[in-house]
């Protein structure tokens, strides 16, 4: 069975006015289908990429997989467990929380500017009650910093003392703190420079091998996706219009929307000849 299974997943947002105003104005309910009957699955240790423009529902899916918002219909199972199932036991729920972590788009916004790096990384360890002793916590923080290519000396620094790439490393370290199995990467490099992007993507690949992590990788950059994903799903207005391996998607895209995305993506190979 697949590690992550998303089955007929839908999410509808209610954008209508309050009931009383609707009755006065005689309006219908206004519903927005953000995600519409999406199916996909990821095997353990693999990377699945969701691509699409803004508003296509990528992040909504990510939030449902992370258990932050509830699906309107359909279900998600992680390692066989459904987070939103009414019969789920609390200890399984908390272990699911531990095993799914997120890396966000902007490392400038996702770190508390008043917290030192050590505190940032200790937070998940404390929240999940992973290590009791103060010393053990500190040791674990140092270990995490080394795993993402930072050093023990950085433990007392504030986020503003780091560059964008280093901050994203801190975010990655934080997501690793609870020894997750699935990491949701929501456009992890779109706020970074090319050279730094290469470093972060390589780090993500290394960590995946080392800890056999499963990634749900969200991006709108097809070039980045092609270096990361084993399978790619193309989302358009909440509907998964095409799903394929990178080989097939880049060589023989079937859906018109995929073709449009591919032709729109700027590629360094398409350098125009001298006119």
């Amino acid at each position: 069975m697949s590690f992550l299974l998303v089955n007929q997943l839908s999410r509808i947002f209610d954008l209508s006015e309050p009931w009383i105003l609707r009755k006065i104005k005689g309006q219908q309910k206004k519903l927005l289908k953000a995600v519409d009957k999406v199916n996909f699955s990821i095997e353990r240790g693999q990377t699945y990429a969701l691509v699409g423009e803004s508003g296509s529902g990528k992040s909504t899916i990510a939030m449902m997989v992370a258990g932050l918002i509830k699906p309107s219909s359909g279900f998600i199972t992680i390692d066989g467990y459904n987070f939103f199932s009414p019969t789920i036991e609390n200890n399984i729920k908390s272990s699911l929380r531990k095993s799914v972590q997120m890396i966000f788009q902007s490392p400038y916004a996702s770190l508390n500017p008043r917290w030192r790096v050590g505190e940032v990384l200790k937070e998940p360890i404390k929240a999940f009650n992973l290590i009791e002793s103060e010393n053990g916590q500190k040791q674990r923080v140092c270990e995490l910093l080394e795993q993402v290519g930072l050093s023990e000396r950085d433990i007392n620094k504030f986020p503003h003392e780091f560059s964008g790439g280093q901050r994203q490393r801190i975010c990655i370290a934080r997501s690793l703190a609870s020894e997750p199995k699935l990491i949701i990467c929501d456009e992890p490099t779109s706020a970074l420079d090319v050279s730094v992007q290469a470093q972060v993507l390589n780090l993500l690949k290394d960590l995946q091998k080392q800890f056999s992590l499963t990634y749900l990788f969200i991006s709108h950059d097809l070039a980045v996706v092609s270096t990361m994903a084993n399978r790619i799903g193309v989302l358009k207005q909440g509907i998964l219009v095409e799903e394929a391996s990178p080989n097939k998607l880049f060589e023989k895209p079937e859906h018109d929307y995929t073709k449009m995305l591919l032709s729109a993506a700027p590629d360094i190979k398409n350098v125009s000849k001298i006119p």
Binding site: S195, P266, S272
Partner: protein, 315 residues
């Protein structure tokens, strides 16, 4: 058309002078699109601001000449800003006034720079909107009713309204989706070809550079690392930094999954501690003794690298 000679921009910081731009020289020819690339902090935007005369204390132009159509402009940029040289900024959300309709904003810009009556200006503004692909009926609409791509179209209309001969576009598509990005770049290209306007396109996306520009200048730590025709620079890079940037760029390629991306070791030095010699030598895979001691000038009118000095085109 635009010539920049030995431009230095200094930043006074706690009594000392830090060089934000160091001895920068390049030209922009009529009707061409010149790309400026580099990592953040390389001085791309600083170059744009210096040309348009928006350098303010604690920054100052301490040396060098900016010559635009045979006139020096670094001292009286006000006469040129907007009318002859205009700028498009990164975020179209921030560069439009949310309290005024786009029509008002267009008419204001037009009447500041061209002697038009009110009616003429409105007429012209509407024709401009049409040109950038916005219906004339939207003339009285407020910016918040537009999508990001549409807003950037309005900003382009604003920038092109006074018929400038140079447009500086500072990451005009970074805030936009890929498909919208392609439309905006296409529009910018088309309008500038029609009007023979030159563009300086600032970006850090090598893909955009490849598909849009005629020539490209690569900046590193406030100095020019390499300049040349885009086709030549991207296919036969002469500077190790350019080469690193190109190799670090992911490509749409199904076979890249199992290979790792090339990464330039280290990070760009802080402006306060740029090393002596070539600013890139600490990250350069093949630096020689000379690189540590003396800063290389632009050699062969192409790249600032000592390796070009004795061995020809070896990279």
């Amino acid at each position: 058309m635009l010539e920049i000679y030995n431009l230095d921009v200094n930043l006074s910081y706690r009594g000392s002078q830090i060089k934000a731009l160091d001895n920068l020289s390049f030209n922009v020819y009529p009707g061409e699109i010149l790309g400026l690339v580099g990592e953040s902090g390389a001085g791309k935007s600083m170059t744009g601001l210096a040309i348009i005369g928006l350098i303010e204390a604690p920054l100052s132009i301490s040396r060098g000449k900016i010559i635009f159509n045979k006139q020096r402009i670094e001292q009286n940029a006000n006469a040129f800003r907007g009318s002859k040289i205009s700028m498009i900024f990164q975020d179209p959300l921030v560069s439009l006034n949310p309290l005024r309709t786009i029509g008002e904003q267009l008419v204001e810009t037009i009447r500041t720079h061209i002697k038009f009556g009110r009616k003429e200006a409105i007429e012209y503004a509407k024709s401009l909107l049409e040109e950038v692909g916005i219906e004339q009926e939207r003339f009285d609409a407020y910016p918040h009713t537009f999508s990001g791509g549409m807003r950037q179209r309005v900003v382009i209309a604003l920038a092109l309204a006074p018929k400038p001969s140079l447009v500086i576009a500072d990451e005009p598509t970074t805030a936009l989706d890929v498909s919208v990005q392609a439309q905006i770049l296409e529009l910018l290209k088309k309008l500038c070809r029609e009007r023979e306007t030159s563009i300086i396109l600032i970006t850090h996306d090598m893909g955009v550079i490849a598909e849009t520009t005629d020539r490209v200048a690569v900046l590193y730590s406030g100095t020019l690392a390499e300049i040349g025709k885009t086709f030549e620079v991207l296919n036969y890079p002469q500077h190790p930094y350019t080469k690193g940037l190109i190799e670090a760029t992911p490509r749409i390629d199904a076979n890249s999954l199992n290979s790792k991306l090339y990464q330039i070791p280290g990070v760009m030095p802080d402006l306060k501690e740029i090393p002596v010699g070539c600013p890139f030598h600490k990250r350069c895979p093949r630096y020689i003794k000379k690189c540590v001691e003396i800063k290389p000038p632009l050699l062969n009118e192409r790249a600032a690298c000592w390796l070009l000095d004795n061995e020809k085109g070896l990279l």
